[in-house]
Amino acid sequence: MMRFLLLFSRQGKLRLQKWFTPLVERERKKVVRDMTLMVLGRPPRSCNFLHWKDLKVVYKRYASLYFCCGLDDKDNELLALEVLHRYVELLDKYFGNVCELDIIFNFEKAYFILDEFLMGGEVQETSKVTVAKSIEASDMLQETMEEYMSKPAF
């Protein structure tokens, strides 16, 4: 299973953090720090796999963002690259030519899309179309501001 998924910029700023194992805030911060240092420190044409503690780390750079995930020893690294790529495709479909700014300003949507694609560190839906449809439908359920204000809370 995937243990975590991080998105960070070339300057090391965190744009998204998804944790699939329970870690306290301090431990999370440490992982983020270590990953950022390790990945950003890699020479440009290295292979995308690293070893960190007992985990395999797979990372891929898309424009100005690094997508970095930590895997169990048993997981398939090459497939993890495909998983990362699929996520980028989903973001791209949703935002239309996604760029880092989209993810900065709409981070909650990025999380929602991720939650339709992965759960508990595993892929939950392998069809791009199905994921896109679910997101669309969920978005429709979200109330507009007027509806929101007029509906009673309970």
Partner: protein, 817 residues
């Protein structure tokens, strides 16, 4: 109160901050506003405020005060609220705080909500961060949803079940009935998550594994359909249909087929098909091939299939893509134990990978290269590995050096080659060599008797150039100390002998002593080496001078050594030559790990002993226990009634415990201390008598005890088989008129000795000296310490029972030396 600013606006504002301080100020201001808004229990804008809080949290600022607000959002009826609330819960709450349990009821309600997207969000949260307690409470709901016909919910419930099982393995049984028809689905999402669920169950429980084996044919069929079916736009990735599902099925097949002939056979065909038909131009195809290879290697596949798998890995090694090469090396490392010959075929490619620029690839290639070294290829491989050692980054050097030493030891074709290899490692990566290699190397060098002059010559030359690498200098110092005479004598068969004078050697050693580069341990080596040369060189005065200077060294270790060596010169000069004699061959013992058999050409090496023989545990009889009690001190060992124990073999690093290993007959050679921890036995127990004793002369008998008419004499003999064993015969005689019946003689010796008591001739000592009771005691005295004994006598005399204790200290020195 004006509406709180919107999320996007906040983000925009914060991004305009030019310094960290400015950003912090903005954030603090906003946090304060949010806090007061929370205090006012504002339902309308809670969602917006929490969203802003989550953004600030991502920037690294504390957001714990929003935790309860997330719970309130989750409880709200509005979908917008729930979405943000659950997101906040996943980011801000963790299972270590009890507050997360407050979510349980909300989740339970949402799992039963009428809208599938609400149910979905609840399932997602539970499946990502549900604690064990939550899982226990909600497992029933999840199980219910696993059986629903709604595929959107079913797939989520399956992954949620996986999480529940990971957290609370005992609940696995509960999900078993729901798994019955999971694989009959057409929906890929459900299929994929079902396979994940089945995999999780099979990995955790052998019973489940056995139960699900019957699914193998169905899995094979699904996989076949995926490969054979035409283009399916929904699941296609670069021409391959649903690679995610394919890989998961292959992984499940691996688990089901492992160790099971029937299952393995059932999947043979499909594996061959996948292996041959998968398109390899893109990463996705290689991902599937990789998983296939792993499966083939793990199950009981037929040999043709295994060869196919290794060949795929071989092709991977030649791939331009670094990732593929890395993955190939990792897999080959896993299979090298089982399919050694097949992997050997790719040896040259693997060795080429040592030159790769990528660090991860280099490391894997190094590990794999070491695994591939064998008797046939050792020369070639070592050349490559030594070259790698020279060129690689420091992070690799220690591991590489250790690996080379190990491999060289195992497969060295000749002693000379072995020494040459060690020399190269020491000179190339001398400072990265591990500390425990130094004693190992020294032991190796002593064993190669005919190479001594060659070795010391080469080490001397190396040290002339460079004394910064501590392990090299330590080994060199030791060798120069031992074999300095060979060095100056100019005899060397293996290579051109160099002309070295005694002074030059002493110059080098003194240089090491004074140099700032030398560590204290190295200095210790150098000082001892200089001392040893006093018996091998003629310039003793110079050595005396050096030694006396260090008698006042600040370093306590050096000072102690120098003082003792000084004492050797002054008071014990007669012993110096014996003490500093050439070291005997040390027997190799392994400290840990499996025993290894040494193969060397032309040399019959003894096979390595097993790790230390544990010293025999004496079986104290109750009498012996009493003796111990009475004697009080814990330096006494009870009588051993068992066989004479074998001496404990010394551990690899401990070169001092040598006397136990000596199997030299005749002259007992004393051992000179060479490494850091010195025993004090050098000066201990030294009497005015010469240390060794050319046997011959009979040892005079002595009277050990004489009281109340009972007299016990000791007579001595040396054991022929073992010079450390003294054989003492006691003769008990009775000068009174009445016999002494039930006579029992017991003895105890200090800890460093071992004692064996044989049966007495009788237990009645007849009166009036009409006869004696004799009993043989064997004493093992490996450390040649002064023999002391306490004896206890019990007998019945004139109707009453008599007990007596005595100490025997007057042993003649020849009896224990």
């Amino acid at each position: 109160m004006p509406a709180p600013i919107r999320l996007r606006e906040l983000i925009r504002t914060i991004r305009t901050a030019r310094t960290q301080a400015e950003e912090r100020e903005m954030i603090q201001k906003e946090c304060a506003a949010i806090r007061s808004s929370f205090r006012e229990e504002d339902n309308t804008y809670r969602c917006r405020n929490v969203a802003k809080l989550l953004y600030m949290h991502m920037l690294g600022y504390p957001a714990h005060f929003g935790q309860l607000e997330c719970l309130k959002l989750i409880a709200s009826q509005k979908f917008t609220d729930k979405r943000i609330g659950y997101l906040g819960a996943m980011l801000l709450l963790d299972e270590r705080q009890d507050v997360h349990l407050l979510m349980t009821n909300c989740i339970k309600n949402d799992l039963n909500h009428s809208t599938q997207y609400v149910q979905g969000v609840a399932l997602c949260t539970l499946g990502c961060m549900g604690s064990a307690e939550m899982c226990r409470d909600l497992a029933g709901e999840v199980e219910k949803l696993l059986k629903t016909s709604n595929s959107y919910l079913r797939k989520k419930a399956a992954l949620c079940a996986v999480h529940v099982i990971r957290k609370v393995p005992e609940l696995m049984e509960m999900f078993l009935p729901a798994t019955k028809n999971l694989l009959n689905e057409k929906n890929h999402g459900v299929l994929h998550t079902s396979v994940v669920l089945l995999t999780e169950m099979c990995e955790r429980s052998p019973d489940m594994l056995a139960h699900f084996r019957k699914l193998v044919p169905q899995l094979v069929r699904i996989l076949k359909n995926l490969i054979m079916s035409g283009y399916s736009p929904e699941h296609d990735v670069s021409g391959i249909s649903d690679p995610f599902l394919q890989v998961r099925i292959l992984r499940l097949l691996r688990i089901l087929g492992k160790g099971d002939d029937d299952s393995s056979e059932a999947m043979n065909d499909i594996l061959a098909q996948v292996a041959t038909n998968t398109e390899t131009s893109k990463n996705v195809g290689n991902a599937i091939l990789y998983e296939t290879v792993l499966t083939i290697m793990d199950i009981k596949s037929e040999s043709g299939l295994r060869v196919l798998a290794i060949n795929i890995l071989g092709r991977f090694l030649l791939n331009n893509d670094k990732n593929i090469r890395y993955v190939a090396l990792t897999s080959l490392l896993k299979t090298v134990q089982t399919d050694h010959n097949a992997v050997q075929r790719h040896r040259s490619t693997i060795v080429d990978c040592l030159k790769d620029l990528d660090v991860s690839i280099k490391r894997r290639a190094m590990e794999l290269s070491f695994a591939l070294v064998n008797g046939n290829n050792v020369r070639g491989m070592m050349k490559e590995l030594l070259h790698f050692l020279d060129m690689c980054d420091p992070e690799f050097k220690a591991d590489c050096a250790s690996g080379i030493f190990l491999a060289a030891e195992k497969y060295a074709p000749s002693k000379r080659w072995h020494i040459d290899t060690i020399m190269k490692v020491l000179t190339t990566a001398g400072s990265y060599v591990r500390d425990d290699s130094v004693p190992n190397l020294i032991q190796l060098i002593t064993n190669s008797v005919e190479m001594h002059s060659y070795t010391v010559q080469r080490l001397y030359k190396a040290v002339l150039d460079d004394i910064s690498q501590q392990p090299l200098v330590q080994v060199a110092s030791w060798c120069m100390g031992e074999y300095g005479d060979l060095l100056v004598s100019g005899q060397c068969e293996e290579e051109e002998p160099i002309h070295v004078t005694e002074d030059e050697v002493l110059d080098v050693l003194e240089g090491v002593l004074v140099s700032n580069l030398s560590s204290p341990i190295t200095r210790g080596y150098a000082l001892t080496a200089i001392m040893k040369l006093s018996t091998r060189f003629s310039s003793v005065n110079r050595i005396k001078r050096v030694v006396s200077i260090y008698g006042s060294s600040i370093d306590v270790e050096l000072q102690q050594r120098a003082v003792e060596y000084n004492a050797l010169f002054k008071k014990y000069d007669h012993m110096r030559s014996a003490l500093l004699e050439r070291m005997p061959i040390m027997e190799k013992t392994t400290t840990n790990g499996p025993t290894e058999i040494l193969h060397t050409n032309g040399e019959a090496e003894p096979s390595v002993r097993d790790s230390k023989h544990p010293p025999n545990i004496p079986q104290p009889s109750s009498q012996a226990n009493d003796l111990l009690d009475l004697l009080g001190g814990n330096d006494v060992v009870p009588v051993i009634q068992t066989e004479l124990p074998t001496k404990p073999a010394s551990s690899g690093g401990e070169l001092l415990d040598l006397l136990g290993d000596l199997s030299l007959s005749g002259v007992p050679a004393p051992a000179a201390p060479i490494s850091v921890s010195q025993p004090t036995f050098l000066l201990d127990g030294i009497s005015s008598q010469p240390l060794f004793n050319d046997v011959a002369g009979a040892i005079p008998p002595m009277t050990a005890y004489n009281k109340n008419g009972l007299k016990i004499d000791f007579t001595f003999e040396r054991s022929n088989s073992n010079p450390n064993v003294s054989v003492i015969t006691i003769h008990a005689s009775n000068l009174t008129e009445v016999d002494m019946a039930d006579f029992v003689f017991q003895a105890a010796v200090p800890k460093t000795f071992q004692l064996q008591l044989l049966s007495p001739s009788s237990n009645v000592v007849p009166g009036l000296n009409k006869g004696t009771v004799t009993q043989v005691i064997k004493v093992l005295n490996p450390q040649k310490q002064q023999l002391r004994m306490r004896i206890k006598l019990t007998y019945t005399h004139k109707g009453s029972s008599v007990q007596d204790l005595a100490e025997v200290n007057n042993f003649p020195t020849q009896s224990w030396q």
